[in-house]
């Protein structure tokens, strides 16, 4: 495998399925996806369609005022599904805020994916239940958590792997580089999965880096792979290579998945202010779902039943998401003060008591029907 690990600059660009859906043989990657049958490909396709549908539904929910914000992953489905589907349940994911497809693949319920963005909670799920930490908004911070977790896995003598997701912009943060230093130093079983979606809000990747993102890691002593992030099969192969290295004592690996953020940074963003003309169209031609459709079609796997089943799954998931979102009860007022500490804390406990009394005073007042805050 070593010949495809970038020790030289520039890194090789790895691809198994071309944008027009043609499967290209590649001696270096093929062994890693040998077991991927037609049924697997269909499952990956369905995952991607469903997460795109989740994304669209969440965007709609935001427009309707049901979510405060939503960070779409439109265009990044292959990077997220291809990598997430390579993981084992005992691996642990440390994501940024855009890994909603990864959360879906880890088994998080649709409504729990949007819980944070509705403003109901800061975590939509229990990290231990899904082997996935909650979204980290401080750019790059989670890469250190993954590295520490992996150091722990090494000490525990297990072959579980930490996988951390981050963007091209994140590579400029000190934390990400320190994570590379620590991961290399301790040969921690961690996979650094960078989705280079070409933009950090309004800044093109060229502001962050003048060479390929994948070229960063070898200088830290970490082999890297540069993969077509819109090719779900190549992403899966690359992730499996990295996971295998980690499980077998090979230490960290860095993956750059070259992809594109086809939507806005978040629903609060307006990419027309900065996106050059034609760029979206150029990348639309490399759409990850389109290319898998073409591949499946070529293989005769895109039957009407599959199409129908896919649509049905997407519709059902969207319906579950919408209902779960809209029906989500508001958090209890006093929960604002819960879980700051694990055991009593005099200062905070006093504040809680005071606030409870204060709220009760309003209830009092309003049952006296003199108005006030209910």
């Amino acid at each position: 495998m070593l010949d495809i690990l970038a020790g030289d600059i520039p890194a090789t660009f790895l691809q198994l399925v071309t944008p027009d859906g043609v499967r290209q043989p590649d001696d270096r990657l093929d062994p890693w996806v040998e077991d991927v049958t037609g049924a697997h490909l269909v499952a990956l396709y369905q995952d991607m369609v469903v997460v795109r549908r989740i994304d669209a539904e969440a965007t709609a929910l935001q427009r309707q005022g049901e979510l405060g914000l939503w960070p779409p992953l439109l265009g990044q489905e292959a990077a997220q599904v291809g990598s997430a589907r390579a993981l084992r349940p005992d691996d642990f994911v440390f994501p940024s805020y855009r890994e909603n497809a990864v959360a879906y693949c880890r088994g998080v319920a649709p409504a729990d994916i949007v819980r944070v963005w509705r403003g109901n909670a800061q975590s939509g799920w229990d990290p231990y239940a899904f082997g996935m930490a909650t979204p980290n908004i401080i750019i790059g911070a989670q890469t250190l958590h993954a590295t520490g977790w992996a150091m722990g896995a090494l000490a525990d003598g297990v072959d579980s792997v930490a996988v951390t997701y981050f963007g091209d912009g994140a590579t400029s943060q000190g934390d990400v580089n320190e994570a590379l230093v620590f991961a290399a130093s301790f040969q921690a079983p961690v996979v650094f999965f960078c989705q280079n979606n070409q933009w950090a809000i309004s800044e093109p990747v060229g502001v962050q880096a003048r060479v390929s993102i994948a070229d960063r890691a070898p200088g830290f002593g970490i082999p890297s792979l540069r993969v077509d992030g819109n090719d779900v099969l190549a992403v899966m192969a690359a992730t499996r290579i990295a996971l295998d290295r980690a499980r077998t004592g090979g230490g960290p690996t860095f993956i750059e998945a070259v992809t594109y953020r086809m939507g806005p940074h978040t629903t609060a963003d307006d990419p027309t202010r900065y996106r050059p003309a034609g760029q979206l169209e150029e990348w639309a031609a490399k759409d990850p779902i389109l290319r898998l459709r073409l591949l499946l079609d070529g293989l005769g796997l895109l039957t009407p039943e599959v199409e129908e089943q896919t649509r049905a799954r997407a519709d059902a998931t969207a319906a579950v998401l919408r209902a779960g979102c809209i029906d989500m009860p508001d958090p209890e007022p006093l929960s604002v003060l819960a879980h700051v500490y694990t055991t009593p804390h005099a200062a905070l406990d006093g504040q809680r008591a005071n606030y409870a009394a204060y709220l009760a005073g309003f209830e009092q007042t309003s049952s006296d029907s003199t108005g006030g805050k209910a």
Partner: protein, 356 residues
Amino acid sequence: MTMTTIVRPSPSVAGPAPTSVPLATPVPLTGTTTLTLAKAINAGLRQAMLDDPKVVLLGEDIGTLGGVFRVTSDLLAEFGKRRVVDTPLAESAIIGTAVGLAYRGYRPVCEIQFDGFIFPGFDQIVSQVARIHYRTQGAVRMPITIRVPFGGGIGAAEHHSESPEAYFTHTSGLRVVAVSNPQDAYSLIRQAIASDDPVLYFEPKRRYHVPGAVSPELGAPMESARVVTPGTDVTLLAYGALVATATDAAIAASDESVSIEVIDLRSLSPVDYATVEASVRKTGRLVVTHEAARTGGLGGEIVAVVTERCFEYLEAAPVRVTGFDIPYPPAKLESHHLPDLDRMLDGVDRALGRRR
């Protein structure tokens, strides 16, 4: 993560993504004009850049995009990329390179995209920006302005609604200001940039789009507080977005014949104790309010100083109306964390001895 749901409300029905906002023409500001708070900062930045070629702006997305709040709109087009610098995504480097630029005689203005993102730059602020003048016995000056949109109430995600000002008021060598209205936004950004000391300049993000009259005058010195509403019964100190709430509280209280003197601190380091003390000597009662957590917040410091200096004038223990000692909560709970009109009035009642 841009999170401006309340600042730029999204339509309540499904619709297309918002279309591009037309670029505003530069504000001339020759006489008094009506500007939003965000535009007033923009106008102040522009004037400072026109006046002094050494003023440069650094930050994430401040160029083409004009910042996620559009505070730096149009400045790239007018001043070019050497003076309006879209930086890579790294706050420590934004501050650290500003230090180097200041060494070379520049007056850098750094934008931190949201309050919660200042911490990766904390070391450079605390150990470098704040100390280099002291360290070099006055040889090197650090005329750096660090702009920080701060505070909550906009329904945002984590790290987008914080009030970190007390970390900086405890840091010797920094000056700290917080503005509450368009005129101060304009005057104080210009004074901050003109200051040879480093200045943390806090912008009340939920007031960005509130308009007000702005004259090109610089007005009172940056270090001075301002009596917003004169009163005789209780002194109510606020800064940033809460000045508006405090002013509303004063109006509400006047209905019950309680006369509140609202003071907008403006400068958080140093605090203008001359103004504060004069008020407390008159009213004998003090309420301080801020969104930041209570323990270790600026309120405690002010209560301590006022107690030290006005002990014999105080008719009751000063009262703090603040955020709780919690991390900033999820959006659906923020109304329970933030001081609002009712909590301020409750605090006033306590200062008046009407409740415990």
